[in-house]
């Protein structure tokens, strides 16, 4: 079954720049997909449309049965609860501990304290940070901070995990650590992962599905692809 389906999607920004041209796409549940392309190719725009930070100018974007384009501002939270998002800059709250940062996601949606505790500890275990529960983000390395962000993104068991250049700030070694974490999440939890990146090495090593964008057009959608400009 397809978790994500895009039909004839155009995205034109208010400043007149067109980021996506007539994009058609179907992504299966449980898959691990890279979105690659140079800067300005539309990768980020695609990811942003999937979590409804941007609306498509034309066409349909369906995520887990929800028509994202038609979703009202007030209802966006319903979509957001079904997915997790990870960014290049981690976006952690510096005044909260690792545990609190991850728990924050569940507190915001009104989960019970006991449930929060179980889920947070499970998520932190999955990213290999169970021993850093009481640390503050400032005391962690970049790779560890990104793993906290991943834990926060998966703590509510989303069907979909969106990653926008999650390894952009990390050295190759740490990047591979992150990729291992993501791969194990994809396998053990069955979470669909879509990751925008321009890290050639990672894409070539992982041998996953690859969507190649160029100047807003879909160039290729390959199973077990490699990074080709």
């Amino acid at each position: 079954m397809d978790l994500i389906r895009l039909r004839n999607v155009d995205k034109k920004y208010k400043n007149g720049v067109t980021a996506i041209y007539d994009l058609n796409l179907a992504i299966e549940k449980g898959s691990f997909v890279f979105v690659i392309g140079s800067s300005g190719s539309g990768k980020s725009t695609l990811i942003k449309m999937l979590y409804r930070e941007e609306k498509p100018t034309k066409g349909q974007v369906i995520v887990g049965g929800l028509d994202v384009a038609k979703l009202k501002n007030k209802k966006v939270y319903k979509l957001r609860r079904k997915l997790g998002i990870v960014f290049q800059d981690y976006r952690l709250l510096p005044k909260l501990t690792v545990y609190e940062n991850v728990a924050f996601a569940l507190e915001c949606i009104g989960e019970k304290k006991d449930t929060i505790r179980t889920k947070v500890l499970k998520a932190l275990e999955d990213v290999g940070l169970k021993n850093k529960v009481h640390e503050y983000p400032g005391n962690l390395s970049g790779g560890e901070q990104q793993r906290v962000a991943i834990a926060r993104a998966i703590v509510n068991d989303p069907k979909l995990l969106l990653c926008d250049e999650p390894t952009g700030n990390l050295d190759p070694e740490k990047s591979m650590e992150i990729m291992k974490v993501l791969e194990s999440i994809n396998k053990s939890r069955g979470t669909t992962i879509i990751m925008a990146t321009h890290d050639k090495e990672i894409v070539n090593k992982m041998k996953k599905q690859v969507i190649t964008l160029k100047d807003g057009h879909l160039v290729k959608f390959k199973q077990k692809g490699t990074y080709v400009e």
Binding site: R52, E53, K78, L93, C108, N156
Partner: protein, 299 residues
């Protein structure tokens, strides 16, 4: 259950935020304090003006003098005609004899002079004293009475009354205007100060939105924060108005210039005024923060 949990969390967050952003909170609180002091002074003035306008209005009487040759039947028809006017609340009738006695009671000079007058050459007249329901229409009522047969003169303190009524109503409008203008200014000031605290927490709001917090969940802590600022901001104004008014009332012995201009008794008036001031503070804080946070919730 979930709702209570969320509310508890919102209150906790709001208190935390007031403490964490103490200097900004203090800025909001002092701006609420200053305006609320002025608002409460204007409120007290306006209530007092209203109070003595009402008192004076209650005291206002139309005096109807009858013709000297009015007979008993004439008095009855006049009485009926007065009764028929819708604006008349109540009336009393005094014969010239009663008027004479009353005047003699009031002053010894009158007593001596009036004693020598016989019934037929008395300059006094039979009178009706009429109270009206609506003072603003007193002129109209007086004119109607004047047209009744056998009525000789009608007096109601013409020019003075008209002037006083319009003066009081414009004072009241002015104080209301001041109160409303001040409230609007405060709301804007609070919007701006709370915007500062919010922009410091932009990141937090952004993350809340990413992880699927509903707009209401994000808004409520800020609205509660605004309410807390409003409550803190109204403490000093409440103290100032309560003790200030008590001292003022005591100093003037309860009236200004003449016994006609009575001040409102401090109890329970000051408590009511304090409640209104606190209410305005809370409302202003709420509105300010709600509209400040709205900008960050657009997606």
């Amino acid at each position: 259950m979930k709702l209570i949990r969320m509310l508890g969390r919102s209150i906790r967050d709001a208190i935390k935020s007031v403490i964490r952003n103490f200097s900004l909170s203090l800025a909001s609180i002092s701006c609420i304090t200053i305006t609320l002091i002025i608002v409460s002074v204007a409120l007290i003035a306006s209530f007092n003006v209203q109070n003595f306008t009402e008192a004076i209005e209650k005291d206002m009487t139309i005096v109807v003098f009858l013709d000297n040759d009015a007979k008993e039947e004439d008095v009855k028809t006049i009485e009926k005609a007065i009764k028929a006017i819708p604006n008349v609340e109540k009336y009393t009738y005094q014969t010239k004899q009663e008027v004479k006695e009353k005047m003699q009671e009031e002053s010894e000079v009158f007593n001596a002079v009036l004693d020598n007058w016989e019934e037929q050459d008395s300059p006094l007249k039979d009178t009706f004293q009429v109270k009206v329901k609506e003072v603003t229409a007193i002129r109209n009522t007086a004119e109607k009475i004047e047209k009744i047969d056998k009525v000789s003169i009608v007096r109601y303190g013409e020019g003075m009354v008209d002037k006083m009524v319009t003066a009081f109503s414009s004072i009241q409008k002015l104080t209301y205007g001041i109160v409303i203008a001040l409230i609007i200014v405060t709301v804007f000031l609070i919007i701006n100060t709370i915007k500062l605290t919010i922009s410091a927490r932009k990141r937090e709001i952004g993350i809340m939105r990413l992880v699927g917090a509903s707009n209401l969940t994000i808004k409520i802590p800020f609205i509660i924060e605004g309410m807390i600022l409003g409550i803190f901001g109204s403490i000093i104004p409440v103290i100032v108005t309560t003790y200030g008014y008590l001292a003022f009332y005591k100093h003037f012995d309860g009236y200004l210039y003449s016994k006609l201009v009575q001040l409102i008794k401090p109890e329970p008036f000051i408590y009511q005024a304090s409640l209104i001031v606190i209410g305005i503070g809370i409302l202003v804080g709420m509105i300010g923060s709600a509209s400040a946070v709205r900008r960050y919730l657009k997606i």
